[in-house]
Symmetry: C2
Subunit: 157 residues, 2 copies
């Protein structure tokens, strides 16, 4: 069977199932994956290795409850650097460990950053680091109607 590269957006049905299962529980043993997809363990192990090597699977992470590790407050920051300070702002963002995720986006705002903090006072201190070089807009997270999930996986035709 012809195998398609990462840009094609098409996995065969078995790979799609493997990916979906791992997206839901990254710690299932390979042997159990094999049973679920109806192939032998070595065969699934090799598919896994290929999915990793080709970049389809970027890695495996534990989801940690932020409140459990001292960060009960989450917020989203929209960050608009003042003219000429984009690079410096990007650098500051990367250097703040409480910023756990950040995308560069189109539109008025340049960056959208997720922050995890222990308190609103900490949030204030964090924002102060950006104030000289950027305008910010902060929105506190109240709840999460959609938790991280995969979009639909369409197997190859």
């Amino acid at each position: 069977m012809k195998r398609l590269g990462i840009e094609n957006g098409a996995l065969d049905a078995v790979d799609a199932r493997i990916v979906a299962l791992l997206a839901d529980n990254a710690r299932i043993p390979t042997a159990e994956l094999a049973r679920s997809v109806g192939l032998s363990a070595p065969s699934v192990a090799e598919r896994l290795r290929r999915l990793e090597d080709s970049g389809v699977i970027e890695g495996y992470m534990a989801r940690i409850a932020p409140a459990a590790i001292g960060y009960p407050v989450s917020a989203w920051l929209r960050v608009r650097p003042v003219p000429g300070e984009l690079k410096r702002v990007a650098e500051i963002i990367r250097s703040i460990p409480e910023i756990t995720e950040c995308d560069r986006i189109t539109g008025e705002d340049c960056f959208l950053a997720r922050v995890r903090v222990a308190s609103v006072a900490d949030l204030e201190r964090l924002l102060d680091q950006l104030v000289p070089y950027a305008m910010t807009n902060t929105a506190i997270v109240q709840s999460s109607p959609v938790l991280p999930r995969l979009p639909p996986l369409a197997p190859a035709a």
Copy 2:
């Protein structure tokens, strides 16, 4: 040793290392975790079980390259429901599988949603589902200066 619950935001040093290791690679075998933290395997297995049961570890997920599964375009949607339609909008958001994450937030906008689509045309079709009940603001993701990561883990004193 007294073990603290999820709300305390304090793990002992060993649990903190286990959590950090798993956040980085959720598929490390328990035996290897044990070697890394200098405890026996059964002991680490029990800590793991407790971290899972207490909700510190919410789960394990594979990170999948969206482009590899057919979604090269990512965008953030800020969604402001028209008065009286908040619940309906929340329902629509949950029902759209291309919305892979959504937080309810404070401020003018009610929801912040991450969408993964195959094309801008698909994005348009997606937005059309919300148009009757909400005002939306869309920002396309250009790059990700900070990939998902853990905030600093402070072990208990």
